[in-house]
Amino acid sequence: MAAPLDIAGFSVLLLLALAVLAPLLRSVRSLQIPLAFSLAAVASLAAVIAGVMAVADGSVASAIMTLGIPGLPFHLRLDPLAGFFLVVIGLMGLFVSIYSIEYVKGYGGERSITQMICFYALFLAGMLLVVLADDAYFFLVAWEMMAAASYFLVMYEDERAENRRAAFLYLLIAHAGALAILLAFGVMASQGGAGGFDGYTFDAMRAAHLSSGWAAAAFFLAFFGFAAKAGVIPLHVWLPEAHPVAPSNISALMSGVMLKTSIYGICRFAFDFIKVFPWWWGGIVLALGLISAVMGVLYALMQHDLKRLLAYHSVENIGIILIGLGLSMIFAAFQLPNLAALALVAALYHTLNHAMFKGLLFMGAGAVLHATHERNMEEMGGLIHRLPWTAPLFLVGCVSISALPPFNGFVSEWLTFQAFLLSPALPHPILKLLIPLGAAMLALTGALAAACFVKVFGVVFLGNWRGHQKPERIHEVGWSMRIGMLLAALTCLLLGILPTWVIGWLDTIPEQLCGGRLAESAGKFGWMWLTPIAHERASYSGPLVFIGILAVVAVTWLLLHLRATRVSRVPIWDCGFAKLTPRMQYTATAFSMPIRRVLGFLFAVREQVEIVPHTNHPAFPVSLQYRLRIRDRFWNWLYEPQGDAAYWIARQVGKLQQGRIQIYLLYSFVTLIVLLVFLG
């Protein structure tokens, strides 16, 4: 039997080979797409197998390659934490690769398929290498490979200025983040004790003993860098720009998986490198998580571009993951390993869950886009009749992300709630009091997410078609796309009803990272009962809730269909007034109007109504125009001043450029004189 690290290596090599060979595949035109994406699917499956094995047996394997720079060859390491993220990347990679077979066909003839395949493979390989890397240099190489490949994928439809702008913004923020991560590694290596290049291996960083100040500097630099990648508020602005313009299979990977690599980074830095930290680090992570969760979902509610809305939901869910991580760090700082394990498992579980349902939702959005060529929700409606497969699968995603049982989003949020309710165990009176308030914010997030997804599903799939083209021309998407979504939906359900298995499998990670275990208490009463701490404290049985609801529904249905009743289909009752038109339906903007009004102070909302009244009586307007502009306040607060400052500096520097050769010669002369004076 092959070792997990070998299988992971095979997976990466297969992807790299695919990237290199993609141009050669072009000669077998009809087979290029199925062949390439099948290979990507196989590679992803291999990553899943490697990850599952690595987590299950809790082993640590490492290898040193002959590549790299002198003195610092590439180090690889596969431990349970890396294995878990291999599974997250691999599973979504598998589903999205299957989905892509038909999705990418849609670009055939218009755009370079080779380019797509090449960067797709590099992107997946980059993400796998990020979690496998075991030294700072290799980590950053992989990190940049991932960033660059995804940049080119965001730019895939590059004829529109909007897309180029979004991709540039993404690249900018990604690099600000990468710089911070580089600095964090620098601090760890220089203050860690080991000299030279040796300090840059992760092993040296694990062994390093930093003073508390340097440790904080390293952690928060890294946290800033990873937060920029993850889209933590206020570094989230690139997400709602880049995700909508990328092809949908890429958005599914970026949002579902790529953001998770930063969760990996934060876990690695906090629990693996630094290990001992004060509680306020966790407090900051928790607070940022809460802000991201609530603000993310509120911004999402205000959107009517389907993919942009989903992108804001990624901000929300990253927030929820950070809430779990923050709680875990707080518990770990107070030497409560079992509670830290609970919160860490909640965070990791949500990481996996979010990858699954967000991937599913982005694939669903891609299917809708594929079928209707429309991203604006206000132009959709009634698609449940036209897309009989996509609709129920998308609904599974909606229910999962809204944290409703028996699907997976619920389990991880429930675990997070349980972690919140353990705050009385903390020896700090103020924290005891403040932490449960965070639970209320999480509840608000969950409820707003439910409202948002009622809006999404209701406006896109229910009601009547609002668009201009004829709805008869909309057709269900192809089989490979359906299978990709179906697999993701099934995973959502399984992760929701079998949490004890997942937690039992995950148990090696909290054991290695914070010294606590969860599975023993969580699975004490068999696989059906999830009892995270003790059965008197809380219990949940996913299988029984699922089967119970199904059974009652089935029995009721059968009892009521014993006697034949007539079901007559009639036109909608229009109260006897003019015939109802699709334009009279509630729109996405109308749906979120009460929430916009209640919580509107958090946004920059500008509403304008222009009415041209009738000459006879003002009650009969001739025309009415409604304009609504909602802006992210962080643009005005944070980014515009920076942009303005950069332009201002550039203009001042620009004054030096006179365009006359004499002036430039004078500059050289003065510079020489100054250098001679100072250096001589």
Partner: protein
């Protein structure tokens, strides 16, 4: 003689399925009496449900499978919820399948799908009802969980049987944290079950409907299931309040004598609880929808005060 736990569970299902319409009828009778009208009788909801089950279904042309599936799901989820809250005995085997957080989320499923069904036909009423319902729910849910968390912190558990038995075995003392939490819970329960001052269950006036607007297009057995589930939800919220705040009298096991006593005390508590709700409903007018954030905000504030009181005073 004592009953097997599963017999108790079965009895509780029967009790809630069977008694929920009578409870709804009782509320209606009380309300009519208090407002000086003549009452239709406690059994009227049974007659309504039977009549609806007998009727044919009239379905809008564009209704999808989701619209037809929602009544069954609503009924199924509410029935499952009925097996979770301990009513007459804490020895309830199915109670462990969901704790109180999961219970709140189960009601969330009902709301989610009802709101979707409201948007399925594509009339403005349905969308309006869904939009308002989800807005109110998103503001009510944090307050609801805060109120419940206060009780959970006091009993160190979110499992309902554990919360009930801890509460039932402690001496009755007025604890400020629980008093605040109860006040918050009452405000939220009125909102969640769609009663005045948040929603008016008796209205079909366009501008004031919330819940009724979502189910306006239903007829026949679909409507019967939704109405029945609605009555059960009302009863369950009372049961949740009783279980969390005054479970005294509940049986500890399956002893027949104590079960009978528990049943009697439950009926008395429900009847008194209904009177309190009717007095609140009669004394207040329905609020404008944009006044509701203040109402729900004060509920949240009360729940938070309860939690602070718990940490500071207890």
């Amino acid at each position: 003689m004592s009953l097997h736990p599963f017999a108790i569970e079965l009895f509780q299902f029967m009790l809630l399925l069977g008694l929920a319409p009578a409870f709804a009828g009782w509320v209606k009778v009380l309300k009519c009496r208090v407002q000086g009208r003549s009452a239709p009788g406690v059994l009227q909801p049974y007659r309504d449900i039977r009549r609806l089950f007998g009727k044919d279904i009239v379905l809008a042309e564009n209704a999808s499978w989701l619209f037809r599936f929602t009544p069954y799901l609503t009924f199924g989820v509410t029935t499952i919820a009925a097996g979770i809250i301990p009513l007459i005995s804490v020895d309830l085997p199915l109670s462990a399948i969901a704790d109180v957080i999961a219970l709140v989320m189960l009601f969330g499923i009902v709301r989610f799908f009802t709101a979707l069904a409201g948007m399925d036909i594509g009339t403005a009423f349905g969308g309006m009802g869904s939009s308002r319902e989800m807005t109110i729910a998103s503001l009510a849910e944090p307050a609801m969980l805060m109120a419940i968390f206060t009780v959970s912190l006091a009993s160190n558990s979110t499992s309902l049987t554990q919360m009930v038995s801890v509460m039932a075995h402690t001496q009755f003392v007025i604890r400020p944290s629980l008093a605040f939490a109860l006040a918050a819970f009452i405000l939220i329960a009125l909102a969640e079950t769609g009663r005045i001052p948040v929603d008016n269950p008796a209205t079909h006036l366009e501008l004031t409907m919330i819940h009724e607007a979502m189910i306006l297009e239903y007829s026949g057995r679909h409507l019967a299931l939704i109405e029945w589930a609605g009555m059960m939800k009302l009863t369950l919220f009372f049961a949740l309040g009783i279980a969390s705040f005054c479970p005294w009298g509940i049986a500890a096991g399956g002893d027949l004598g104590s079960l009978a006593l528990a049943l009697a005390s439950l009926v008395v508590k429900l009847m008194v609880g209904a009177l309190v709700m009717v007095l609140i409903e009669t004394g207040l007018a329905k609020m404008r929808i944009f006044r509701l954030p203040e109402y729900l905000g004060s509920a949240f504030l009360l729940a938070t005060l309860g939690m602070i009181a718990f940490f500071i005073l207890e």
